[in-house]
Symmetry: C2
Subunit: 354 residues, 2 copies
């Protein structure tokens, strides 16, 4: 069985994670001031200020995970407003990937909005009658392939939420990836939201870590909750320094990753085994592909492509409700740029060919 | 103002934390199997099994922090037994250093036992009339200088708790440091407890990280709670690998650190500014010193010692309820071994002299 590390190329991602190379970035450490202690440190706090500034927010706090950051944001609003319900797309990470921490730890209630298979609409917001604390909007909507509302649609959603008096929080796990599509400064996107979470792995390729940004009071309160969650670590410098390095290296490449998705999606869409690609024209570096192929057959072909072309494609497809159809999530990155369209086409021909 | 990094020697700890040197330990990474993903990875899970084995427990789970690990242990017991109260020494970390996360996140209640200034006694346990889920015992009791019950006393406490039907959890933040005093395998100490948390920084000198150990079911449930807490990170390998390296390097030195505390404590105790040393004969590498000296005067002298002897002593004393008396916590380590008694004596003469 070959794996990603056995191949020269890969269709998605940033290439293999080499721990030693990753940590050579720590060579940029200048001294003790770079090593934070329980959330305090010159370099840590300067990076928080820098991201807050880029997002046009008063303050930001670095946390080990987005799971922690978002639950904390929802909890602060719930306690402040006395409203324990938050609303979001049915596929929000908070609801489907966090073992219901929002309920078990924070006694919050989740109101799913609209269809799990379609983007949020104004009609979905209008259908809310329960008193809400927060509306959470995820940019892009990962579980439906990284679909992203047009700028005017996004503004309309937020305006409607404001009319209702809701706190509007952005799940910006892939916010950086949205920059090229909106063609606006990140601060202009973030200005739509009362609070926003961003990530330093995924598109940026750090190894873990997140930030929550908002008003000064909100972030001060979030730091207290971070300690309650056990996320105020003795030191975070391995995540901090790699996050900073990944940010500096890859933020400027988001358009290139998006462009790679733009040439890759049609190649995948044209393959015989492909039913559909969602979204058809990827607004970010991500898209989902629905394939009519058995998992064993697909993985056998992936091994063949790895063996014959030294291109890594897919480790495991995701199931779908439709028997015989599987899903493949592709997020382009450095590896895709290096692969290029010609090698990608040859790989897809074998992987998804007749 | 001089700092620890400006001095050749230090009276406590393991010497300066050099991030680059720390991460040279990552050079021992052999490949992709060493990089865990969301709690799964050959090296991570092997280290968990190794620590579980050393502690004589079925299973263990690596977590970013002890705060998370201990709240999770208490919560699992509370849900299982329908008893939301846990009891512990009044100075337990859970009650005084975690912003009451146990209450805010887990709706647990805390029953403080006995005196904040003395070790737990059987009489303290007998005074409990409320139905308890868990009795938490911290080894050693950090906030009273690292006091440690004799083996027979500890066994008696646990036996009494068992008669009452309580789950007995060990806060083993400094468990490794207790080995020389008890002179028993760690598994024999851990066997007293239903669950136990251990740390990889503090005495071991890693950079962060903890493990929770217990029965297979308990740890499986703890992994679910870890995800709820936002502690199931994309990858933990920087903490894992440095924890493992620190463990291999320093576990065997615990007796040497304890011996260093044994020669250092009398030196400090004999100084004119010292009121008392607690405990007078340190059972581990830690002791607390109560000093009759103004903070400004003390820090001025610390600067003098740093300047004249290149020995780092104290950054900031802790306040006490007694006006004019401050507290200094000393935990010996590699730096103390290197310093040696003669240099220590000269430093203390100036720092705490007449």
């Amino acid at each position: 069985m070959l794996g990603a590390d056995d191949c020269t190329y890969a269709i998605a991602g940033h290439g293999r994670l080499d721990p030693v190379a990753t940590f050579s970035e720590l060579g940029t450490l200048r001294g003790a001031n770079d090593v934070d202690r329980y959330g305090t440190g010159e370099r840590l706090n300067a990076f928080e200020d820098r991201i807050a500034g880029l997002l046009g927010k008063d303050a930001a706090v670095f946390m080990p995970s987005g799971t922690m950051a978002q639950q904390i944001a929802l909890r602060i609003v719930a306690d402040e407003r006395g409203r324990r319900t938050f609303a979001a797309h049915p596929t929000t990470h908070v609801a489907i990937h966090e073992q219901a921490g929002y309920a078990y730890l924070h006694a919050l209630q989740f109101a799913p909005l609209g269809s799990a298979f379609a983007p949020l609409t104004l009609a979905d917001l209008d259908a809310v009658h329960a008193p809400l604390g927060t509306l959470l909007i995820e940019l892009p909507q990962r579980e439906i392939g990284g679909t992203l509302p047009a700028w005017d649609e996004l503004c309309a959603l937020v305006a409607r939420a404001r009319e209702r008096g809701w706190h509007v929080h952005c799940d910006g796990a892939r916010l950086w990836e949205c920059g090229p599509f909106y063609g606006r400064p990140y601060a202009e996107i973030a200005a739509l939201f009362d609070s926003i979470y961003v990530s330093f792995y995924k598109g940026l390729g750090g190894i873990a870590g997140a930030m929550l940004a908002g008003t000064r009071d909100f972030i001060a309160e979030a730091r207290i909750w971070q300690r309650r969650h056990g996320g105020n670590l003795f030191t975070l410098f391995p995540y901090l320094t790699t996050a900073e390095a990944a940010f500096d290296r890859r933020l400027g490449r988001m358009a290139a990753y998006r462009d790679a998705a733009a040439w890759l999606a049609p190649i995948v869409a044209a393959a015989p085994a492909t039913i559909s690609v969602q979204p058809a024209v990827p607004p970010t570096n991500m898209f989902h592909t629905y394939l009519r192929i058995g998992t064993a057959e697909l993985l056998g072909r992936a091994q063949q492509v790895a063996r014959e072309q030294s291109v890594w494609t897919i480790r495991q497809p995701a199931p779908t409700p439709v028997d015989g159809i599987v899903k493949w999530e592709i997020a382009t990155g450095d590896a895709t740029l290096e692969l290029g369209p010609d090698r990608a086409r040859r790989a897809i021909e074998v992987l998804l060919g007749a």
